[in-house]
Symmetry: C2
Subunit: 121 residues, 2 copies
DNA sequence: TGTGGTGTGTAGTAAACACTGGACAGATGC
DNA sequence: GCATCTGTCCAGTGTTTACTACACACCACA
């Protein structure tokens, strides 16, 4: 249905070669072994935890969210954001689950406005 | 600062004794060993995964979200809700992070309305 | 022809997670 | 006195996670 969704490994391999980075160099800068990175790029190993992915994004000068999303690791990335109001956030997410990206963005703007002027003026 | 926040273990022990359930009976119905439950209630073991907690809530006829929140396990509970639009949801959560419960509830209502009539009428 | 640089396959590992079993001590009832 | 029910302590275990080391094969090019 969709245009052949590529997995996390393919994605970083692509970004890495674009940056003309060798696997060893890349692994070294991220702080991982070449073996591990190789296996991840091939899709044999699962993507690393979200914080490692952020480091990867930094080295590759890529968008961290895109990589984290491709890795299916967004939940752990946002864990810290919901822990202050977990119940209300859970309720929100259940209702917002089926919305389109545009609708979610609209809600994001509203949230932004709300935090600018906490009282209703 | 706050009124002596009680941890997950204390909470289920409270609910369990309210329901006049013995530790063994409770553990049995949830499908866990008494040892394990005992340690959790004392706070020696970490709370179990979110799905176990939901089972506990069911047995105790308690609110699952409250227990999951107390366990600090809400992230894994909502993981499935964000995986469809992870990037947009992450962006939302970053902006909504500091809001009050009332404000979040307001946004939840808006989300609810949006899913009722997806087109703007 | 060999030296250096590329990625890869196999095997293993340390630590964390999610538990369990069995022995036990203290109170309760007969 | 003893059986039974309560929760607890200690030690151990299987599984998963997040990796690593080493040996290897391939290619370039001097």
């Amino acid at each position: 249905m969709s245009p052949k969704k590529k997995h996390f490994g393919e994605l970083i391999r692509e970004k890495r070669t674009e940056k003309k980075l060798t696997l060893r160099k890349f692994a070294d800068r991220v702080g991982l072994s070449p073996t591990y990175v190789s296996q991840i790029e091939q899709g044999n190993f699962a993507p690393p935890p979200a914080d490692r992915i952020r480091k990867m994004a930094e080295v590759l000068e890529a968008d961290a969210d895109e990589l984290i999303a491709a890795a299916g690791r967004m939940a752990e990335e946002v864990a810290g954001l919901i822990e202050k109001r977990p119940i209300e956030m859970a309720s929100f997410l259940r209702h917002a689950k089926g919305l389109t990206p545009q609708q979610i963005e609209q809600l994001t703007k509203m949230a932004e406005d709300m935090s600018k002027k906490p009282k209703k003026d």
